[in-house]
């Protein structure tokens, strides 16, 4: 009798010895902050020592009202939804198609494609953010390639005007055509365009056309300055493009892993019976991955809530608040300008609320799709 009780006791002790360390850490990192943000979002605590400092009290739902009436909040929420839409209508279908062609070995070097498409996921997001910010910036390679092309085109047209004539003794007609090519911004450099341009050209001395061409191109060729990340109405696009490229590889791996669980004999038998590749995809692979699609869509929403670093490094949420997402909006409220911790905590709790809706959704989906795949 005592022995069995001792055994039960040891069992209980062992259970808690093994569970408690993990559970305590988990409570500290996940549960406690949720409770804290709930309390603080209803209070007027705004930094400093929480106990023994400036007294603070509960003020009710004011901060939530403030968040919901802030247009920047809705804008951030909209940007989060854009990220979800890019995932659901971009990354998921692309990931699925890539996984399928790799799974069925319809492309050469399937291993190479799989390997390379996942690379963006293992590089630090900070590196990716800074790198793409530079690429889209006026000093980036994009600008250099475009400007080289523009200069090349400009020089060609200039060349066709000057042709074999001596640049220091061009006709009025040729000078006018050069000025036409330079456009209004070029003409604006002169007060007496024709005369001044002739002076300029003769200063090169006779017969020196390569240098003249170079000089005129430097002077007149239009310069293209990329403003993707600094213009309000387009700044979100490069970010979404980078996000599309970054995470497609992750969904590819998820779909591929689930495809590989499908009995290959079913696919082979269908092919032998004359089913076409698209039919195999439509009637065998797609239905058995419906659960994966639902999971991926839920993951996409969770992913948009957790993203922070990429936008933080690419634009910092700017220009203005144009590229802010919820996490950056919250960060700004807490750490930029005059800190507003109650407001930031209210935003945190709203994000947690969205997560809980997602979790409920997963549970419901699991009931519906459960058993089809693990």
């Amino acid at each position: 009798m005592t022995r069995t009780r001792g055994k039960r006791g040891e069992e209980t002790r062992a259970y808690w010895t093994m569970v408690l360390p993990a559970f305590v850490v988990y409570l500290l990192v996940m549960a406690f902050p949720i409770v804290l943000s709930l309390v603080l979002s209803l209070s007027d605590y705004n930094g400093g020592r929480m106990f023994g400092g400036k007294p603070w009290g509960v003020v009710g739902f004011d901060h939530y009202a403030k968040v919901f009436s802030d247009s920047a909040f809705w804008h951030a929420l909209k940007n989060n939804s854009y990220i979800v839409l890019v995932s659901v209508f971009g990354q998921l279908p692309l990931g699925f198609v890539f996984a399928y062609v790799i799974y069925r070995r319809l492309v050469k070097w399937p291993d190479f494609w799989q390997g390379i498409l996942y690379v963006p996921n293992i590089i630090s997001i900070i590196v990716i953010g800074i790198l793409w910010q530079t690429i889209f910036s006026p000093v980036g390679p994009l600008a250099e390639v475009m400007n080289a092309a523009i200069r090349g085109g400009f020089q060609d047209r200039l060349n066709s005007i000057i042709a074999s004539a001596d640049p220091s003794a061009l006709s009025d007609e040729a000078l006018r055509r050069i000025l036409d090519l330079a456009g209004p911004s070029g003409a604006a450099m002169f007060t007496e365009p024709l005369i001044e341009l002739r002076d300029l050209l003769s200063s090169y001395g006779p017969g020196n056309s390569p240098e003249v061409l170079e000089g005129l191109t430097n002077l007149f060729a239009p310069k293209w300055t990329p403003d993707f990340l600094t213009k309000d109405d387009v700044a979100m696009l490069p970010i979404l493009f980078v996000i599309l490229w970054m995470y497609t590889g992750m969904y590819l791996i998820m779909f591929l892993a689930n495809m590989q669980k499908i009995d290959t004999q079913i696919v082979e038998a269908a092919r032998i019976d004359g089913a076409r590749e698209t039919q195999v995809m439509r009637y065998i692979i797609l239905p058995s991955l419906s659960g994966t699609f639902v999971n991926s869509a839920i993951l996409a929403i969770a992913g948009s809530l957790s993203s922070f670093a990429l936008i933080f490094a690419m634009t910092g949420g700017g220009p203005g608040h144009v590229t802010e997402i919820l996490s950056i909006y919250m960060f700004d409220k807490a750490f930029q300008g005059s800190p507003d911790f109650p407001l930031a905590n209210a935003i945190a709790l709203i994000m947690v609320g969205i997560s809980f809706v997602l979790i409920a959704l997963t549970k419901a989906m699991e009931k519906r799709y459960g058993g089809k795949e693990e």
């Binding site: 988990y26 902050p33 062609v101 494609w113 293992i122 809530l305 922070f308 919250m330």
Partner: protein
């Protein structure tokens, strides 16, 4: 004559499949280019003096130099960042794996009424993003007096890695036959003894998956550590590299060298463990 419509359908089908294949190739190539070219470009420019970069960003460096690397290394204090990143990654990974396998064993093999609610709370945590809790976490570590400490960073990293870790290890240990444990119990072995000599060796596959998953996550993590530490002595690589996007961003040579230094370890890790990383991601994401 009868065969014609079939043939036509067949050929339309073939055109469609050729188109699909072409599209797959095109987009995959675009994505691959978007990956390879920036890395190549970054690498090339990190060997150019900033003056040469301003003249020409494309192409190979004309007078390659290691000055950028030396400068970035000193300016970015990489000699502090790299050990810190190693400490955080190793500490968090060991912590997550150990705590997950321990709790997973209890959840899977010891009957208790506490399992349903506690294990359930961990599973819920898989979809809870810690990033949304960064402000309350910041206030909490201040309240606990552990702001600007390694303990806080490790605590947060371990806590946020536990849900998926516990889920994967519990499911894995459930599949270990119960008879193994029962016979050891009859022989008088304690649970902790069973854990050490039976469970731990058998969970190597899931522990490896978890470790790999967490190494990439923790090494690259930015949002959380950004609010947990402010001292350079405690910063990790991503935090250090972020400095090069702000006040130091116009010194392109050093910026590129810093990004190259920061990127290389993970690229090497990926090339070495690609199969395991892929497997880990698939395992971690299937349910997540």
């Amino acid at each position: 004559m009868i065969a014609t419509p079939v043939n036509r359908r067949f050929s339309a089908e073939r055109i469609a499949s050729a188109l699909a294949k072409g599209l797959a190739y095109a987009v995959m190539s675009l994505f691959a280019l978007m990956t390879l070219y920036p890395i190549f470009w970054l690498f090339m420019n990190s060997f150019k003096p900033t003056r040469e970069f301003q003249m020409s960003q494309l192409g190979f460096p004309k007078s390659p130099t290691l000055d950028n690397f030396v400068g970035a290394w000193n300016l970015g204090e990489f000699s502090k960042l790299i050990p810190n990143s190693l400490i955080y990654t190793a500490g968090a990974t060991i912590g997550i794996v150990l705590l997950s396998v321990l709790a997973g064993f209890a959840f899977a093999k010891i009957k208790s009424r506490a399992t349903a609610p506690i294990y359930g709370s961990f599973v819920i945590g898989i979809l809870l993003t810690v990033q949304s809790l960064m402000i309350p976490l910041f206030l909490e570590v201040n309240l606990l007096g552990i702001y600007n400490t390694r303990i806080a960073v490790l605590l947060v990293y371990i806590g946020s890695g536990l849900p998926i870790g516990i889920y994967l290890s519990t499911e894995f240990i459930k599949a270990i036959p119960g008879s193994l444990i029962e016979s050891a119990r009859i022989d008088g072995a304690s649970y902790l003894r069973i854990f050490r000599s039976i469970i731990l060796p058998m969970t190597v596959p899931v522990a490896t998956t978890l470790a790999i998953l967490n190494i990439t996550n923790v090494w690259n993590e930015f949002a959380l550590i950004n609010i947990l530490v402010a001292k350079t002595e405690l910063k990790s690589l991503p935090l250090g590299m972020f400095r090069f996007s702000g006040s130091l961003s116009s010194d392109y040579g050093k910026q590129f060298a810093a990004l190259t230094i920061g990127m290389l370890p993970m690229l090497v890790f990926y090339v070495a463990f690609r199969k395991q990383i892929t497997k880990g991601v698939a395992a971690g994401a299937v349910k997540g």
